[in-house]
């Protein structure tokens, strides 16, 4: 029988793709996340069946789509399935790969920034920290925080333009 480790090692890498599909179908990020989690819970419940399945990725994708369709039927009881947006698995996979590649590029560019600028960018755009908290954590004045941020953005743009 499939263990938890095997299950997560096999199916957790599919999560970004599944989330993209759910977002396309449901048109809502929070609902898409819920749908993906529900899909994983269902897959775990049906792990015996999943183990015998040759195309586990396809099984997971179909489970997610069925769940999303059920959700949409609940929201819009008079909408037919044919009216749903057509989602190609290949397109979704390609989109996920592009996003992963961009994220990797961002990481690579960030490593080339000075520590203060790196921290400022992370706080501002990734951790969603307020300007006052940034002043406290970085130990800078408000003007210095603005200056650091603007320099970091300028450096990133420069690196992107120069293709580094």
């Amino acid at each position: 029988m499939m263990t938890q480790r095997q299950f997560l090692n096999t199916l957790l890498p599919l999560q970004p793709t599944l989330r993209l599909v759910a977002e396309r179908l449901l048109g809502n990020r929070e609902e898409a996340e819920d749908a993906v989690q529900e899909t994983y819970a269902r897959l775990w419940e049906q792990r015996r069946r999943l183990e015998r399945c040759e195309n586990q990725e396809g099984f997971a994708m179909q489970t997610l789509k069925n769940h999303c369709i059920n959700q949409l039927r609940k929201q819009h009881p008079f909408e037919t399935v044919e009216q749903l947006p057509e989602v190609s698995d290949e397109d979704i996979r390609h989109e996920a790969e592009v996003l992963e590649e961009r994220a990797a590029t961002f990481d690579r560019l960030m490593t080339q920034l000075p520590e203060a600028q790196k921290a400022a960018i992370r706080m501002k755009y990734l951790d969603n920290i307020t300007h006052a908290e940034m002043q406290q954590q970085l130990g800078m004045s408000s003007a210095n925080v603005y200056t650091t941020l603007s320099r970091a953005i300028a450096n990133l743009k420069s690196m992107i333009n120069h293709g580094r």
């Binding site: 989690q37 819970a41 992963e100 961002f106």
Partner: protein, 185 residues
């Protein structure tokens, strides 16, 4: 952020971070916590189990050897014993004489008192008017005791015709006042 390409990069990074967060949520929901055991813990446990398995026969062998050695020691002691020592009575070669046992004191004429005080009479308890019941009191015979026959027979009553024999248990007062008795007379 004005630059479109940079914005795309940041969005992609955010998307990736969101994916990581959700993967952790899914993993915890499935029931698996991301616990990374230190590698040496597994090695130490394996070594301990291996050592226990390898040393267990040695330890048990040591116990057997100790038991055998103790048995040999006992046998050797038994061989060295002179059994005649136990058959002959023991000879006391004590250097100091045994202390005499304490003797009971003997009564002499001086020790007995000249006159023994007379024994005082015991005080007489006051008598009461209570009297025990006499033996002439009438005995009561229950039907059960008569049936069993373990009680002495009741005193004979004057013979009466068979017609009223079953009235024998009626008290005398009834007998003398009833019409039946009168008619008989």
């Amino acid at each position: 952020m004005e630059d479109k390409e940079l914005q795309q990069l940041v969005e992609a990074k955010l998307w990736q971070l969101e994916n990581q967060r959700q993967q952790e949520e899914i993993a915890s929901r499935i029931g698996r916590q991301r616990i990374v055991w230190p590698w040496w813990l597994g090695t130490a446990a394996a070594a301990a189990i291996l050592a226990a398995v390898l040393l267990s026969p040695l330890l048990s062998g040591k116990e057997e050897l100790v038991a055998k050695a103790e048995n040999l020691e006992i046998l050797e002691k038994l061989d060295n014993l002179d059994y005649l020592d136990y058959l002959e009575p023991p000879t006391h070669t004590a250097t100091t004489p045994a202390e005499p046992l304490p003797t009971a004191p003997v009564a002499t004429a001086d020790s007995v008192p000249a006159s023994i005080p007379p024994i005082e009479p015991e005080p007489v308890l006051p008598t009461t008017n209570y009297q025990l019941p006499t033996t002439n009191s009438p005995t009561v015979h229950t039907r059960r005791s008569n049936r069993l026959g373990d009680i002495k027979k009741a005193p004979e009553k004057p013979k009466v015709p068979a017609l009223i024999a079953h009235y024998i248990d009626i008290p005398d007062t009834v007998l003398f006042t009833s019409n039946i008795v009168i008619n008989l007379k």
